[in-house]
Symmetry: C2
Subunit: 333 residues, 2 copies
Amino acid sequence: MKVLITGGCGFLGQMIAKAILKRGELRGPDGKSAEVDEIQLFDHLVPVTPFSWVPQEGKGARVTTAAGDISDKATVAALVDRDDVSVFHLASVVSAGGEKDFDMAMRVNLMGGLNILDAARARGSALRLVFSSSLAVFGGPDLPKEVDDWTRHTPQTTYGMTKAFGELAINDYTRKGFIDGRTVRLPTIVIRPGAPNAAASGWASGIFREPLQGKEHVLPVHDGFYMMLLGYRSAFEGFLAVHEADGAAIGPDRTVALPNKAYAVAEMIEALERVAAEDGIKLGPITRKRDESVEAICGSWPLRMDDAKARSLGCPEDTDLDSVIRGFIEDFL
Amino acid sequence: MKVLITGGCGFLGQMIAKAILKRGELRGPDGKSAEVDEIQLFDHLVPVTPFSWVPQEGKGARVTTAAGDISDKATVAALVDRDDVSVFHLASVVSAGGEKDFDMAMRVNLMGGLNILDAARARGSALRLVFSSSLAVFGGPDLPKEVDDWTRHTPQTTYGMTKAFGELAINDYTRKGFIDGRTVRLPTIVIRPGAPNAAASGWASGIFREPLQGKEHVLPVHDGFYMMLLGYRSAFEGFLAVHEADGAAIGPDRTVALPNKAYAVAEMIEALERVAAEDGIKLGPITRKRDESVEAICGSWPLRMDDAKARSLGCPEDTDLDSVIRGFIEDFL
């Protein structure tokens, strides 16, 4: 079978691709495990040379890249070119990015999302499609700090609004039998490597990433600020667990809120200093420069999502922040 | 100012138009009352001769009709041709209709909805736009029978899914300052005159309408079946109350669930027989022919929506079913 990952050249996309490469197989549209012979990474920009983790010819699945605009219907239709395809739909304009460019958020997230759903539906094989949603479907001053599967979606960003729509659409396309859709609803994922992106939550990675590399991190929120986090290893394992789960175990509401826990900024810094001391890493400085727009967006999100369903499906949770930091050092430094 | 009503040739659209005609003025984008000089009824089909209630030239607002496809962006953009326009967006594929034709429901409800939002946004005058949503945003076997403003939307029809999206979009376009949007979330509205439509809830009007005219009604649900109802007079008055309300009183969640009450089929029949006896009307027969698909769709809806916000904004509630039936006899028979 083929695996198509939209937004596949991003951090999570690559992580999922690597994990599937290692596994070698996934459950196909018929629910039976099948060998993965191609992993296609679709993105708006793709590197000219293969990623370092892509294996030589002949070893495992072929990893290919395709560059294109997800808001173009024909481009997206051409990607789902077999009946035995599984899709991981991660392509998305992120939170602060969507606040800056409303039309792009609508085009990429909403129209792009419909394009991939319709491309999957056109195969007629009820193929598995895992959509990446976000805690940003929640928000507002009256939001309870703990939310569950019955809490109304009241997004306070266009990003969150389009993610809420995606969850609705995944449920409806699945109800109609067009696809076997599943939604993974993510907390803020840490620690993202590489350059900062336009997500309002970017600092929750930067606060670890930059100091660990001896660089300065400019922290836009106060030290008592809490964020609901999940380590990236648990995140991509959650994507795979949700893909592999029996449809009946997920139920008619196809959304699975991944395991999560809220940490204060002060706790993040303590964990960082603890791990750095163990490993003899000299940390770069964290300087404070509060940014009201970041605090407003991140502060509109809940601190806890009920994750009982995710745990029942085998989605892992983090042991603690220290292990997330150690994993990042191991994987990227 | 101009009032544009999409789906304006339908029952509720005409009711709203007549009520505005009688009033003569509405609050404009600046919040001040202004004279309405044009009411435009946009629909996919419009009658060749004016509606009987349309006044002669020179008396009050000019009532015009325009036929077109709401999923055509340019058509819709041309309708919002002044800065001082208020929009009532009622155009919609209905519940059972959307189940039969998914693509049409997406085109009309979702793309059509975005077209009217974007046409309004393009004026740059943050004009008032009242969107017609439905109790069908709720559903599913685990839905509590009483819902409130914090209950998650779990629609079980494509119709309900597109209405849930509309609520999200109205909130986001308003949050961005593009429009001053408001959503009226309707219970099942009774008693609709004329021919039955493709709504799964159509029987809740037919059970009164046909017998009152000496005709047979074929009832698709059992006598113990409950439905959340609102009389059409309260419904169109609710639309106007929500249009006229101060934006701040509505708050960042622009949805207002209209007043509502659940009645059993047996109660509906009792009220019908009571009013008919008073008026000396010989009723046509009600015959039973259960339809599982109708019971499944209507049974997925809640029986009570918290309507405190609607009542605080002055949206009227029904006194009882008898008065709704008497109103229908007065208005249509």
